[in-house]
Symmetry: C2
Subunit: 329 residues, 2 copies
């Protein structure tokens, strides 16, 4: 097992300062932290592991790796309509990692803690002979007894997705192999979307508070696959209109250069956009919310009783999906 | 990245059944879980990562690996005086792992869930090209506002440790290289102690409830090192009597065969016994507690104002410590 000098020094120097606002973290000197929520709130918990090579590239900037590790879990909180509260970080670092790398990684965490209003409360650091691995447990809070649950879709519900799809998987292609002919601006946009997803926290909280939808999830394994799980949980199906699926200009440019069809964005991973279903009478409220948040929210199709997911083109012809999406296995 | 067939099938088959008693786990179909505690209780959280080769042996029985992954975190809850509530598991498995391995691993988790009264509420599964890695976040509950904090030792306090020290690191030697001449019974005892530590939950809860001590920790990196951190947090020192340090017959036999001095047990890792400090007037209560729990609790020394840790023999001569203990780096 390789040896990084000073596990405890690293914790004291880089991780303990990330706990400054959390009394229950005991400066990371205790075996565990104590969490307290305001009365009437409930705790939402989620854990995600990110492995170098699978969820981020080993030569990504350490700041964005830190941010992505945090944001992937924040995206899960967003899908539950929760407000970020705190988090635990378990890091498995190669023993030959440079201290400057860890410092930069923690600067990324610090910046996002500030931005999203949460604080480190504990965790663990270990050495690994394998790829760098981070497991983050994020805590969020929801008021009252409402919760966004997945098993409540009904035929006739509209399906919505925030932002744009496909940027991240195309960004990974940019970073891995490059895309010949792509403008630098488009390449930068796509790479940023891969490295630093935007958790749709305000949207998730509004969906819960305004009771716009009973079901939401964050699209992490490709829309086709994630929507498939959502539909299965409610024993329903859906029709998605390909033309309505939101795709950025940069992604359109990249798809065209790669000769990939538009439906490829339904199978890419790492979008971290929110997908949700709402009854048709919510349309004006959802349009208003989109304006207020200055966040595009596209109505991409609707739930139907017949099982299965069908994607149709502008002439309502079924479009073949080459793959049902990204899985980690 | 290697591919294990059916991430979602594995979750549904082996992990979802571990959540049966937890409504807020949504059968692992949601992005996150909702935790609820009885009114007046506070949540204690702790995260630990275990890496194959570092914290368990790749060819350990999968049942005991599952149990150890859970028990290491339960030991942290014990040190906080908390009652186990639930947990999240993030597992990074090699893609060529057999399904039977995962089934056995989950049987180990199920057995310990039953025994310790907690339930899985969520997590994540990923593939890794490196060693198998588990990150477990355990949730516990404490009543009222009391908490065991580390920075409250005072000169004159007695130091106690539960059970026996050194078994686990000697068990690792048994499993890795064998110890020539050791009886099969002793070898089995030591190996079991390495593979399946016993979280001292009843002791931790009693310490908190009876206000026997303000500080406790679980000894995971060797008593010398862990005690050193505890002393530093309170800016005090301690004297430990080597003869008072509890060592099992099996460990004594192993030390003798290896030609290692008794103080080696102060630097071994993986003990997961509780170390705590108490004022001298608590001695009768602690003796009574030891009887009630049928758990040996040894008074191994005392806190003093002078900084640093001194280990003395039966003639109060200082004993050199070869190493300050195990670190993961």
């Amino acid at each position: 097992m390789p040896r990084l000098p000073g596990e405890f020094a690293l914790i004291e120097r880089y991780l303990a300062p990330l706990t400054t606002t959390a009394a229950g973290a005991f400066g990371l000197k205790n075996d565990a932290a104590v969490l307290e929520l305001p009365p009437g709130e409930r705790l939402v918990v989620t854990a995600d592991s990110l492995v170098a090579g699978g969820h981020f590239l080993p030569d990504d900037p350490p700041e964005t790796i830190g941010r992505k590790v945090l944001r992937v879990s924040l995206s899960d909180l967003a899908a539950m309509g929760a407000r970020p509260h705190s988090y635990l970080l378990a890091a498995s670092w190669p023993g030959d990692l440079e201290e400057a790398w860890i410092a930069a990684f923690c600067r990324g965490l610090a910046a996002d803690q500030e931005r999203f209003g949460l604080t480190l409360v504990g965790g663990d650091t270990t050495a690994t002979s394998g790829p760098m691995t981070f497991s983050l447990t994020a805590f969020g809070a929801v008021k009252g007894s409402k919760v966004l649950d997945r098993a409540s879709l009904r035929p006739g519900d509209d399906l919505y997705v925030s932002g744009t799809l496909g940027d991240a998987y195309l960004g990974l292609k940019v970073l891995r192999d490059g895309i010949a002919g792509l403008t630098a601006q488009a390449a930068g946009h796509l790479a940023d979307r891969y490295r630093c997803p935007e958790p749709r926290l305000a949207l998730g909280q509004a969906i819960l508070e305004q009771e716009l939808a009973a079901s939401a999830l964050d699209v992490s394994d490709g829309l086709a696959q994630d929507l498939g799980h959502l539909l299965a949980a409610s024993a329903v199906g859906a029709e998605v209109e390909l033309e309505a699926v939101p795709v950025s200009n940069a992604a359109e440019q990249a798809l065209s250069l790669l000769g990939e069809p538009r439906q490829a964005v339904l199978s890419g991973g790492d979008d971290y956009e929110l997908l949700f279903a709402a009854t048709q009478n919510k349309r004006p409220l959802i349009d208003a919310l989109s304006s207020r948040l200055t966040l595009p929210i596209a109505r991409i199709g609707r739930v139907r009783a017949e099982a299965g997911l069908t994607v149709v083109d502008s002439e309502r012809q079924a479009v073949p999906l080459e793959s049902l999406g990204w899985t980690h296995f």
